[in-house]
C-alpha cells in the first residue's frame, strides 16, 4: 500500500460520514469495527516501516495550490510513527470502554472525526495541512466536552477552544512569515516542512519566530502559565474526552516543538533553553504541588499531566539524542498511562457519580482488580523501572543533565513530588477502612472495562521491560534530527550544545 497514510487519514473520515446512516443500535459495533480497522492499519504501518532509516517514509505528495506552495504532503518518521499508533489505539480503547448512552451516535461520529484530525496532524509535512488538522481537532473536542460534559461544560469547552485557538493563530502568523521569508529567498512559495528545514534563518528572525510557534505549542501542551484551560476541560469532559485529550491532543504541542521549533530554529532553541527549562521546572514542581492540593481525583490526574509534560519539554530541549528520544518516549508513556488513569477515574465515576476522594476510602478491599490496575498505573506514573513511565523520564532527565545538572536536580524532584500526590491519592481512595456505606456494595471491573484496561496494562509492562522495538526507530530519527540541527546551527554556542551521538559521528 503506497498510500497508507492517506488511507489512515481518510478512512475514519469516510467511515464517520457513513456512520450517519447507521442506526443507533448498531453504532457501537460500527464504531468499534472502524476503530479496530484503523488501529490494525496503523500497526501495519509500523510493520512496514524501515526502522534503520531515520528519514521520512511513506511520503505522499499531491499539489493542491502549488502556486501558493500549499500541497497535500504527508510522511512519517520514527518521531511521529508511534504517536499515530497511539492515537488510533487510544481512540479504539476510548470507544470500547464508552459508558455513555446519550446520543451515542453523535459521540462516536465525533470521535471518528477527532481521529481523522489526530492522525492528520502527525502525518502532515505541509505546514498549512498541519495547521488545518491542528485547528479541526478543536471542533470535535469542543463538541464532546460541550455536549457530554459536566455542569460547567459550556464554560470549559469555550475556554478550551478560545484559548488554544488564540495560541494557534499566533503560530499561523509565524508560519506565514516563514513562508514569506522562504519566498523572498527562493522566489517560490512553499509550506513544505522539508523546504523550511533547509532554510537558514538569521538568529534575530529565529528568535521572533521561535516565540510565535512557542505560543501555539505552549498553550496546547499546556505549559505554565497557559495551563488553566486544562483542569476545566478535564474536569468537565466525559471520560473518553479526557482520555483522548490527555493522551493525544496534548502531545500535538510537544510534538510541534520537535517537528518545527528544533529543526527550524536550532540557534534560537539553544538560546532559549534556560527560559524554556525554567518554565518546565515550574510546571513540574508547581503543578505537582497543585495536584497534591486537589480533592477531586480527576483534577489530581489532570494536574499531574501538566507536571509530566514538563519533563517532556525538558527532554525536548536537552539538545541531545538521549533527551529528545526520552521525551518522545515519554509522550507515548504519558499518553498510555494518563489515558488509563482517566479511564480508571471514569470507572469509579460511573459507579458513584462522584470524583471526590473524601467519598472513597478502603476501595482496595471492595474492588481488588480495580485497585490492582490502578496501582500498576500509579507506579508507571511515578516512573517505576520496568514500567513504561521510567524509561522516558529517565532518558529525558539524563539528557538534560548534560545541559544543566542543577536544573535537572530541580526537575528530578518530580520523582519525589509525583510519588507524594499519587500515593496520597491512592491512600485516600484505596486504603483505610471503607468509611462510606454506599461503597461497600460496589462491583469490581466488568469485562467491558477490563477490555479497555488490560491492553494498556500489558503495554505498560511490555514497553517497560523491552522498549527496544519502539525506542530504536525513535532514536534513529532523533539522531538524524540532532545531527541535522548541529550542521544547521550558526552560532558557536548552539554548535557546542547540540550534541551529536558518537554512533552518528562514526557512521560518517
Amino acid at each position: 500500500m503506497e498510500n497508507i497514510l492517506s488511507v489512515l487519514v481518510f478512512f475514519p473520515l469516510i467511515a464517520a460520514l457513513l456512520g450517519i446512516l447507521v442506526n443507533e443500535k448498531s453504532i457501537r459495533a460500527y464504531g468499534i469495527s472502524v476503530a479496530t480497522i484503523e488501529f490494525v492499519l496503523s500497526l501495519w504501518l509500523w510493520m512496514s516501516y524501515d526502522s534503520a532509516n531515520g528519514g521520512f517514509q511513506f511520503i505522499e505528495f499531491f499539489p493542491i495550490a502549488s502556486d501558493f506552495g500549499i500541497n497535500y504532503y504527508l510522511g512519517i518518521d520514527g518521531i511521529s510513527l508511534f504517536i499515530v499508533i497511539m492515537a488510533t489505539m487510544i481512540t479504539l480503547i476510548g470507544i470500547v470502554s464508552l459508558s455513555i448512552t446519550k446520543n451515542l451516535k453523535n459521540l462516536i461520529i465525533s470521535l471518528l472525526f477527532l481521529e481523522v484530525t489526530m492522525v492528520g496532524v502527525f502525518v502532515s509535512l505541509d505546514a498549512i495541512v498541519f495547521y488545518l488538522f491542528w485547528e479541526f481537532s478543536l471542533v470535535p473536542m469542543l463538541y464532546i466536552i460541550g455536549a457530554w460534559g459536566g455542569e460547567k461544560r459550556v464554560y470549559a469547552a469555550v475556554k478550551f477552544f478560545l484559548y488554544t485557538f488564540t495560541g494557534s493563530l499566533v503560530m499561523l502568523v509565524g508560519m506565514l512569515y516563514v513562508a514569506y521569508i522562504y519566498h523572498s529567498v527562493s522566489g517560490v512559495w512553499s509550506f513544505a516542512l522539508t523546504d523550511w528545514y533547509a532554510l537558514v534563518l538569521p538568529l534575530s528572525v529565529q528568535k521572533w519566530l521561535f516565540w510565535a510557534f512557542f505560543l501555539g505549542f505552549a498553550i496546547k501542551v499546556p505549559m505554565f502559565p497557559f495551563h488553566t484551560w486544562l483542569p476545566y476541560a478535564h474536569g468537565q469532559a466525559p471520560t473518553v474526552g479526557s482520555v483522548i485529550l490527555a493522551a493525544v491532543l496534548l502531545k500535538m504541542g510537544s510534538y510541534g516543538f520537535v517537528r518545527f521549533s528544533l529543526p527550524m530554529f536550532p540557534d534560537a532553541s539553544v538560546a532559549y533553553i534556560v527560559p524554556v527549562a525554567t518554565i518546565a521546572i515550574i510546571m513540574i514542581i508547581y503543578t505537582a504541588m497543585v495536584a497534591y492540593a486537589q480533592s477531586d481525583m480527576k483534577q489530581v490526574i489532570a494536574y499531574s499531566s501538566i507536571s509530566h509534560m514538563g519533563v517532556i519539554i525538558l527532554g525536548t530541549f536537552a539538545m541531545n539524542a538521549e533527551g529528545i528520544t526520552g521525551s518522545i518516549f515519554q509522550m507515548l508513556s504519558h499518553g498510555i498511562v494518563s489515558g488509563a488513569l482517566f479511564l480508571l477515574v471514569g470507572v469509579i465515576y460511573d459507579r458513584t457519580h462522584t470524583k471526590e476522594m473524601s467519598q472513597f476510602g478502603g476501595l482496595a478491599a471492595v474492588m481488588p482488580k480495580y485497585a490492582l490496575i490502578y496501582g500498576i498505573m500509579l507506579m508507571a506514573s511515578v516512573g517505576l523501572p520496568l514500567t513504561i513511565g521510567f524509561i522516558g523520564e529517565y532518558l529525558s532527565l539524563a539528557g538534560f543533565f548534560k545541559i544543566s545538572p542543577i536544573m535537572t536536580l530541580l526537575a528530578g524532584t518530580s520523582i519525589i513530588l509525583g510519588a507524594v500526590y499519587m500515593l496520597s491519592l491512592y491512600k485516600k481512595t484505596f486504603f483505610g477502612p471503607v468509611t462510606n456505606e454506599k461503597n461497600k456494595t460496589l462491583t469490581d471491573l466488568n469485562s467491558k472495562e477490563l477490555m479497555g484496561l488490560v491492553p494498556l496494562v500489558a503495554i505498560v509492562i511490555w514497553l517497560g521491560v523491552y522498549p527496544k522495538p519502539v525506542l530504536v526507530p525513535i532514536d534513529n530519527s532523533v539522531k538524524a534530527l540532532v545531527s541535522f540541527m548541529h550542521e544547521k546551527a550558526q552560532t558557536p554556542e548552539a554548535r557546542a550544545i547540540i550534541k551529536v551521538s558518537k554512533s552518528t559521528k562514526e557512521a560518517k
Partner: protein
C-alpha cells in the same frame, strides 16, 4: 552455569506470578507451599553458584538490551562474582526461611496468597539489585524493593489512621507511603549519581566505570561518591532519612525480618561495597560515611533503650547495626562490612521471627511491659531469641562476636579512636537493650495474665524452619577466615597494622567486657520483675528518647504540613486567583469592552448620523494633520 543464574533469579519471579494468580481468591495452602519450594530452588541455585564461583571465579551473562538511546546502552546483564554470590545466598536463604515461616504466621490472614506474591516479588527485586552488572540494573532492583516494601508495609491497608500518641506509625498505609517517599528522596540522589557517571564515563557497566575512574577529577569522584551514598542513605535508613524504618514495623513481622532487617536495608551497604574502587579513591567521603554510620549506631541504640514496642526495639537495633556496617565500609574494610552484613542478616532475621512468634502468642500485642515469663510456655522461641540476642550483643563464640569485633578492630587500626569509642559504647548499649527485651519478654513476672492473654508456642514446622538461621547465627563467625579469603578475591584486602595485632587481645577483652556488662545491667534491672520508675519516665532525656528525639514530629511540622499548606496556596491563591484569573480577566476585558461599545448602537438614525459626522470630522482633521506634516 547460565541456567543456574537464571534459575536463581527468576524462580522468585515465577513464584510471585504464581501466587498473584490466586491473589484475589481466599487462602490456598498450596500457594504458600509452592512459593516456598520455588524460593528453595532459588536458594539451591544460589548455593551452587557460590560453590562454582568459589572454584572458577565470576560468571557474567547478558540477557538482552533494555534501554538503547543516543549513546546510552543499558542491557539486562548479570554478574555473579564473590560479593554477589554471598549476597544471593544470604538473601535466598533468609527468604526461604521467611517464606516457610509465613505459612504459619499468615495462616489465618485473608490476604494469604497476596502476601506470598508480594514477598516473592520482593526477593526477585532484591536478586536483580545484587546481581545486576550495571548501575541502572541496580536501580531497577532498588526501586523494585522499594515498591514491594511499600506493598508489604501497607499490607494491612484497611487499618485506620490514628494519632501519633496511640500508634507512632499512624497506620500501615501511612507508614508505607512514608517509606516510599523517603526512599524516593534518596533515589533522586542516586539518579543524579548515575547521570554523573554516564556523562563522565559514557557507560553504566560496573567494570567499565571502575576501570575509568582514574580519568576523572577528584572533585567529580567526590560528587559521584556523595550522590550514590545519598541513595544508600535512603535505602539503609541512615540519618536523616531514618524515620521510615521504625514506622515500617507496621508490616507483618516476616516482612520486617526479611526486608527491614536482613536484606533490603542492607542494599545501601551493598552499594558502597560494590562501589569500593570509587570509595577507595575518595577516603574523605569514606570517612564521612564511617562517621555518619557511627553516629547512627549510637543514635539508634539510644532510642532502643527506652522503647516498649517489641518490634521497634529490634528495628532500632537494625538501624544501629547498619551504622556499624557503614562504619566498616567507610573505613575501607569492605569485606568486614559484608561479613557483618551476612552475620547480621542471620541473627536479626532470627530475632524478628522470634518476635513474630511472641506477637502471635500474644495476639499482636507489642508492648513488652505487658509480657514476661514466657520462657516456660515458649521454650524454643526463647532459645532462638536468646541465641540471636547473644549474637547481636557480640558474645563469643557467636557470629556477632566475630563480625562486630572486627569492625571495632578496624576502627582502632585506622586510628579513628572517636569512632572506636562510640562503637564500643554502642556495643554495651546493644547488649543492654537486647537483653532488656529478652528479660522483659521471657523472664520476670508473668504480667500478661493481667491482660488476659493465653500465649502458646507456634507450630512445630515453623520452629524447624527457623533452625538454619539459629545454626548460622552460632557458627557463621567460625568461618571468618575462609569468608575473608573468598570475598577478598574481588574486594580489597584489609590489613591490620602490627600495632593492632598486638592490641587484639586487649580489644577483645574490652569489648566483651562492655557487652557482658550491658547484659548484667539488664539482668539486674529486669530479670526478676518489671519495676517502673515514674520519675525517670517523666524526665526529659527519657521523653526525648521515647519520642525518637521528636524527629518525626519535627519532620511533620517542618516539611509535611508546610508542603500541604503551600500546595493549597499554590492552587487556591496562585493558580485560581492569579493565573486563571488573569486569563479570565483578559476574556472579560474583551467582553466588557464590547458590551460597553454596544451602547453606541442605539438604533436611532440621528445618533448614527451624529457618529458619522463625528467620524467625518475626525478623518478630516487627520487628513489636515497629515497634509500639514508632509
Amino acid at each position: 552455569m547460565e541456567t543456574l543464574v537464571y534459575t536463581a533469579l527468576f524462580a522468585p519471579l515465577v513464584s510471585s506470578l504464581f501466587a498473584a494468580l490466586f491473589g484475589m481468591t481466599p487462602k490456598r495452602q498450596f500457594v504458600g507451599i509452592v512459593t516456598s519450594l520455588l524460593l528453595f530452588v532459588s536458594f539451591v541455585s544460589s548455593a551452587l553458584l557460590l560453590d562454582y564461583v568459589m572454584e572458577f571465579g565470576s560468571i557474567h551473562v547478558t540477557m538482552m538490551d533494555w534501554i538503547v538511546a543516543g549513546d546510552m546502552s543499558v542491557p539486562f546483564g548479570f554478574n555473579v562474582d564473590q560479593v554477589t554470590a554471598v549476597m544471593m545466598t544470604v538473601v535466598t536463604l533468609v527468604s526461604t526461611v521467611v517464606h516457610i515461616y509465613s505459612n504459619g504466621y499468615m495462616e489465618h490472614d485473608k490476604g494469604f496468597n497476596r502476601f506470598f506474591s508480594y514477598l516473592s516479588a520482593f526477593v526477585f527485586s532484591m536478586m536483580v539489585l545484587v546481581m545486576s552488572d550495571n548501575f541502572l540494573g541496580l536501580f531497577i532492583g532498588w526501586e523494585g524493593v522499594g515498591v514491594c516494601s511499600w506493598l508489604l508495609i501497607g499490607f494491612w491497608y484497611h487499618k485506620e489512621d490514628v494519632g501519633r500518641d496511640v500508634n507512632p506509625s499512624i497506620s500501615p498505609a501511612w507508614a508505607a507511603n512514608e517509606a516510599f517517599i523517603m526512599n524516593r528522596i534518596a533515589d533522586l540522589g542516586m539518579l543524579v549519581g548515575i547521570f554523573l557517571i554516564y556523562w563522565n564515563i559514557g557507560s553504566l557497566q560496573y567494570d567499565v566505570v571502575f576501570s575509568h575512574l582514574d580519568g576523572l577529577s577528584h572533585g567529580m569522584l567526590v560528587a559521584i561518591g556523595i550522590f550514590l551514598f545519598i541513595g544508600a542513605m535512603g535505602k539503609s535508613a541512615q540519618f536523616p532519612l531514618h524515620t521510615w524504618l521504625a514506622d515500617a514495623m507496621e508490616g507483618p513481622t516476616p516482612v520486617s525480618a526479611l526486608i527491614h532487617a536482613a536484606t533490603m536495608v542492607t542494599a545501601g551497604v551493598y552499594l558502597v561495597i560494590r562501589a569500593n574502587p570509587l570509595y577507595d579513591m575518595i577516603p574523605e567521603v569514606g570517612y564521612f560515611i564511617a562517621a555518619l554510620g557511627t553516629f547512627v549506631a549510637i543514635f539508634a541504640a539510644s532510642m532502643a533503650l527506652v522503647n516498649r514496642d517489641l518490634k521497634r526495639i529490634i528495628a532500632y537495633s537494625t538501624l544501629s547495626q547498619l551504622g556499624y556496617m557503614f562504619a566498616a565500609a567507610g573505613l575501607g574494610a569492605y569485606w568486614v562490612a559484608l561479613f557483618h552484613l551476612a552475620a547480621h542478616a542471620f541473627f536479626k532475621a532470627l530475632l524478628f521471627l522470634g518476635a513474630g512468634n511472641v506477637m502471635h502468642a500474644m495476639h499482636d500485642e507489642l508492648d513488652i511491659f505487658k509480657m514476661g515469663g514466657l520462657k516456660k510456655i515458649m521454650g524454643w522461641t526463647y532459645a532462638y531469641m536468646g541465641v540471636a540476642s547473644l549474637a547481636l550483643a557480640g558474645i563469643w563464640p557467636l557470629a556477632g562476636f566475630y563480625s562486630k569485633d572486627t569492625i571495632l578492630e578496624v576502627a582502632f587500626n585506622e586510628h579513628t579512636y572517636g569512632i572506636w569509642f562510640i562503637l564500643w559504647l554502642t556495643a554495651g548499649l546493644t547488649a543492654f537493650y537486647s537483653f532488656r527485651l529478652v528479660f522483659l519478654t521471657f523472664w520476670s513476672d508473668s504480667r500478661y495474665k493481667e491482660f488476659g492473654f493465653h500465649p502458646h508456642e507456634v507450630q512445630k514446622y515453623v520452629l524447624w524452619a527457623m533452625a538454619p538461621l539459629a545454626i548460622l547465627a552460632v557458627v557463621f563467625g567460625w568461618y571468618k577466615d575462609s569468608f575473608m579469603e573468598f570475598v577478598t578475591r574481588t574486594l580489597p584486602l584489609y590489613e591490620m597494622s602490627e600495632h593492632t595485632h598486638h592490641m587484639v587481645g586487649v580489644l577483645i577483652a574490652v569489648t566483651t567486657l562492655v557487652a557482658v556488662g550491658g547484659i548484667v545491667v539488664a539482668y539486674l534491672m529486669y530479670s526478676r520483675r518489671l519495676k517502673r520508675n515514674e520519675k525517670i519516665e517523666k524526665s526529659l532525656p527519657y521523653r526525648v528518647l521515647s519520642n525518637q528525639y521528636y524527629i518525626p514530629i519535627f519532620y511533620e511540622k517542618a516539611f509535611s504540613k508546610p508542603y500541604a499548606e503551600l500546595s493549597d496556596i499554590a492552587w487556591k491563591e496562585i493558580d485560581m486567583q492569579v493565573v486563571d484569573a488573569t486569563v479570565d480577566g483578559i476574556a472579560h476585558l474583551v467582553e466588557e469592552s464590547g458590551d460597553g461599545a454596544r451602547g453606541m448602537q442605539t438604533g436611532n438614525l440621528s445618533d448614527y448620523l451624529k457618529w458619522m459626522a463625528f467620524g467625518v470630522i475626525a478623518l478630516a482633521v487627520l487628513a489636515v494633520f497629515v497634509a500639514m506634516k508632509s
